[in-house]
Amino acid sequence: MSISSSRLPKAGRGFTFIEMLIVVMIVAISMPAFFTIVFSLVREQYLVNRLQRVKESGDFSERKILELVRNRTIKTDATCANSIMAGASAGIPAARKICFVDSSKVPFGFYIDDTGRLASMSANLAAQSYVEYLLNTEDSDFPVAIDPTTAAISLVSEKIVKFVYTVKHQPTVGYLTPVAIDYQYYIYLRR
């Protein structure tokens, strides 16, 4: 055989059917495996992203409540007896609501309703509602909900308030797992 013979154009010679079949089979087996790994990574990344956003929402509610209650409360109204607050939090069980009076004698408070919304009530807000949601299940951007069965807002003693709740994000698609972060904090009324 001359040196140049193997370099001659192999006119008309392609891969056999068996060869092609094997190649297609290998591709068919390896591609799903590869994409499974890639998609599981993407899913994990999305989980972390959701976890961060749940924490962001939860932290926001915690900051807001801590700031308002710790520094501005002069009196507690544990049962929300004040007429405005009683109206705004009607139907909410006592274990999930608490009211205060601030230094300007304006009543305000917080409650967690049955759908898992965390609401801030204040006589300073618009008279139609007196309520603003700190965490809302209807938020179009990133809806989060509090589990109402485990949530509790309690007056531990005259000057100590305890908040316990779990902030949860339930994805709209079923195959994604929900993510949740627990919040529990005590607030000492400084004033």
Binding site: M1, S2, S4, S5, S6, L8, K10, F34, I37, V38, L41, E44, Q45, L47, V48, L51, Q52, K55, G58, D59, E62, L66, R70, I160, I181, D182, Y183, Q184, Y185, Y186, I187, Y188, R190
Partner: protein, 152 residues
């Protein structure tokens, strides 16, 4: 040259096979390492989010303790003769102060370790250092939060 000399069944040359193997293994190693690296990063940031949350929870509790007990009582948690003391807060519910001592293991949610170190800076100031740590592939990762506890 007569065309009959052309071999009917030519295989791949050694060079071709070697080049293919090199290219293929480089590609495979790149993909596998990228996947491994990003999954480690993702796992790490997941624990960082949860760990930070646990740390902030304790930080808020320390502030609450200062409001509740007063500065001197929090300072008294550090034994008189020492300059610093470490406490282990590996329980989910923060209620009472544990006795002085570092954590024995990672048993907060069976994964994290939450320690608080109170250090006396001056008569009027303490530094509370909260260290959250967890292990990934035998490597210890930590997240530290610091809050100053003042007499005022």
């Amino acid at each position: 040259m007569p065309t009959t000399l052309v071999r009917k069944h030519t295989g791949f040359t050694l060079i071709e096979v070697v080049v293919f193997l090199v290219v293929f293994s480089v590609a495979l190693i790149t993909i596998v390492s990228t996947v491994t690296y990003s999954s480690v990063l993702i796992e790490d940031s997941k624990h960082k989010v949860i760990g930070t949350r646990f740390g902030e929870e304790l930080l808020e509790w320390v502030k609450f303790q200062k409001d509740l007990l007063g500065y001197e009582a929090v300072r008294a948690k550090v034994p008189t003769l020492s300059n610093a003391a470490t406490f282990c807060f590996n329980t989910l519910n923060l209620q009472t102060w544990p006795s002085v001592g570092a954590c024995s293991g990672y048993n907060l949610k069976n994964f994290y370790k939450r320690e608080l170190t109170l250090t006396k800076v001056s008569a009027d100031e303490l530094v509370a250092t909260i260290v959250l740590s967890w292990r990934i592939l035998d490597k210890v990762k930590t997240h530290t939060l610091i809050v100053y506890v003042n007499k005022l």
